[in-house]
């Protein structure tokens, strides 16, 4: 059972790390701010989400697991909001430039 959970951790954390890679590559390579924002939210939500998911079997106690999930939810909440706010600021800036 423990070995199975460890495999789960390896896979989930590894996939999460991959999404951080994807987010960074997108942030660096995509052509404009709005597409870069798209790449960033993948790293935020999926990358951190999978890392949290993978760590769940490794923490002891229900409270610590709950805290991990709360962290993920908080980051999703704030990144979704910040993403909207950043996109709106970008749109305003573009309208001003036109």
């Amino acid at each position: 059972m423990t070995a199975l959970l460890d495999v789960f951790t390896y896979v989930a954390v590894g996939t999460g790390a991959f999404f951080f890679l994807a987010g960074t590559v997108g942030l660096l390579r995509f052509p404009d701010a709005l597409t870069r924002l798209h790449a960033l939210t993948k790293a935020d939500n999926l990358g951190l989400g999978l890392v949290v998911f993978g760590l769940l079997p490794q923490v002891d106690g229900f409270a610590n697991g709950l805290k991990l999930v709360v962290i993920w939810l908080l980051v999703m909440l704030s990144s979704a909001d910040a993403g909207q706010l950043i996109a709106r600021a970008e749109r305003r800036a573009r309208r001003r430039d036109d």
């Binding site: 954390v13 890679l21 790293a43 709360v70 962290i71 996109a87």
Partner: protein, 87 residues
């Protein structure tokens, strides 16, 4: 397991470091904000991985604080950014 978790933390930090090039280069304020955002979630992920690796449960509390304050800071940064809402 410990080595794997530490390596994963190091990898995420390295990714974040690469993403920071956006903070340095810009060109727009939006890009700088995004890179700071990526650093927030990447930093939290690295802390969680490192904390699990060294077996220190209280690192989770640091991540929790970081998640809240990063949310506050990113909202404030967008609000006060030159291209954002006028304060």
């Amino acid at each position: 397991m410990t080595a794997f978790l530490l390596a994963a933390a190091g990898f995420v930090l390295a990714m974040v470091a690469a993403g920071l090039v956006r903070v340095l280069r810009g060109p727009g304020d939006a890009d700088r904000l995004m890179a700071a955002q990526l650093l927030g979630s990447g930093g939290i992920a690295a802390l969680l991985l490192g904390g699990a690796a060294i077996g220190d449960g209280s690192v989770v509390d640091v991540s929790l604080t970081l998640a809240l304050l990063a949310a506050f800071a990113s909202v404030a940064f967008v609000k006060f950014a030159p291209s954002g809402d006028s304060p």
